[in-house]
Subunit: 332 residues, 2 copies
């Protein structure tokens, strides 16, 4: 069997994924829309080797010991082995080119790259739809990192998950001046991981049904806003959508409060800039870091003002990026 | 006619009032429970004088000019004039003994004292239930400041509001070591007043139905927790209830975000202290200031740690306080 090496970009949701309806198949309670980030990627090489007695996984050159992360990778390799009808263990090497502390979730790019590389190494010929569904099994948001530009992950209706995959809404070239500024305010590990957090919310948050009842309208608005390149529509809807998601977290019992003092500084600065007439919005994932949404023409001023805040450690500028791809050069 | 002078304490809700079902009669969407604060009071003298050509109102020795506050007082006096079948204008003097910047809403103590003093001056003989309903017309939370100790304002079912008034759950002597530490983190005027904010939430927040569906369970828990003096039950429920209310604000469109960096500092400190085993909770009204809930035996340590936070300007310690009362000495 051959080595497979693939690269996938991270993505940031404009309409958030929060809550599963099936924990094993990773089927979401609601659809989501994201932008794939140019140049913020994970590269992964996989090789199935009969000589191995167990899977061997390195992440950023460090061997993953027994633990949750390692178990998730093995579980994902098991799905691929079952699909390919093989029993061989694999050597996996994975590298993120963005700092782990960039305020970006690496599970999306990580599981997309792993799925694509492992499928190739196992001799599976999967189309983007199948790759998206496979990536979804590793981490829900990874389903979106298979595609470039602006991407929608369909909720689907079927209980076997065969209609729950991501599709491209528009390529990066459709809206090249769209920007996300990912701010870094905290490098500490978050206390509640997304996986546990969303489960807790679905189970205990009395406001969660209101989230679900309103998310389809947000999907319609952001999808059509992207097609029309209506910045206000996309930005305002994305911001409201993220605030609704955080509202469901805050109203979870016990509460999940990801915001810290610096998060509030940025939220209020974005509101102030908007009052001054600057077209700027924000979105926040399951953590304290804020992603500021703007267009290229306003970017420099916004970036400068963000950097003035005492709680902001770093700002990374991200453009719409391309799809996951196969590379010829391997990591080992 | 005689002068009437009354004094009413402020109160802080443990189960919050957020949203009206009738704007004119001030009928709430849900019931609420509060603690009346010892010694944080408004004193008000009212005299109806045939010689006056208009109502004359002073607040903390300053004449209220034409404006929203003045209009609300006049409107409230009109209700009392109608009840008493008089047309005379009134002189009103009102004083808060707590600093306006104490992080306390003065509308609760203010409208309770005004209602009681004006009713007396107009020769109306009202019982506490009637006084509570009258106070409610000025400001919903004022209905609770008529009583001392722990107080429940019943939502009521009737469209004329005759079953929507406050009742005492337990007097201050029932739980004398219960404490609220009101922290002051911001003295600036809030951008969205409670009245406008709750209207916006009822009209635009998709999560609001979830708030309403869960508040009765909170009322049951806090009511029985007070009767049983179960500090954990009262504190945990009050904190979750306040977080649900803020969640509905955050998910309002446009959003109402009252929290600032210092708010987050206090929230996280309370969570940390609880992880250390200290029985302490928080509640937050429609603003950035946090009220920390504890018992007398833990108070000093908690107060000291709150004062160490960079964003905390001041901490006031409040015990359960007594009911609104008539005074013999007048303000003029």
């Amino acid at each position: 069997m051959e080595k497979g090496t693939c690269r996938a970009n991270a993505n940031i949701a404009l309409v958030k994924y929060w809550g599963k309806r099936d924990e094993t198949l990773m089927l979401p309670q609601n659809g989501s829309i994201s932008m794939t980030l140019d140049g913020m990627h994970t590269t992964t090489t996989v090789e199935f080797l009969p000589s191995l007695k167990a899977d061997e996984v390195t992440l950023n050159d460090a061997l993953l010991a027994d633990g949750k992360e390692f178990a998730q990778v093995v579980e994902h390799l098991n799905i691929i082995r079952e699909m390919a009808k093989i029993k061989t263990f694999a050597r996996v090497a994975s590298k993120n080119n963005f700092p782990t502390a960039a305020g970006l979730a690496s599970s999306a790019s990580g599981f997309a790259a792993l799925s694509m590389a492992a499928a190739k190494a196992a001799g599976l010929k999967l189309n983007p739809q199948e790759l998206s569904m496979l990536s979804r099994r590793g981490s829900g948001s990874a389903s979106r990192s298979i595609h470039g530009g602006f991407v929608e992950w369909k909720r689907g209706e079927k209980s076997d998950g065969t209609d729950s995959y991501a599709q491209q809404i528009a390529p990066p070239s459709h809206w090249p001046n769209f920007r996300m500024l990912t701010t870094v305010v905290s490098t500490s590990e978050k206390k509640v991981k997304s996986r546990a957090g969303m489960k807790q919310t679905v189970e205990t948050c009395p406001l969660y049904p209101g989230w679900l009842s309103s998310v389809n309208a947000d999907l319609d608005a952001v999808r059509s806003g992207i097609k029309e390149k209506d910045f206000h529509k996309v930005g305002a809807t994305a911001e409201h959508n993220c605030l609704k998601m955080h509202a469901t977290m805050i109203a979870t019992n016990p509460p999940i409060i990801y915001w810290n003092p610096a998060t509030m500084e940025i939220i209020h600065l974005v509101q102030v800039m908007r009052e001054e007439g600057v077209p700027v919005y924000f979105t926040i994932d399951a953590g304290p870091n804020v992603k500021v949404i703007c267009q290229e023409e306003n970017m420099q001023d916004i970036e400068a003002r963000l950097k003035e805040l005492s709680g902001v450690k770093n700002v990374h500028v991200c453009k719409p990026g391309g799809p996951a791809e196969t590379l010829k050069e391997h990591l080992f």
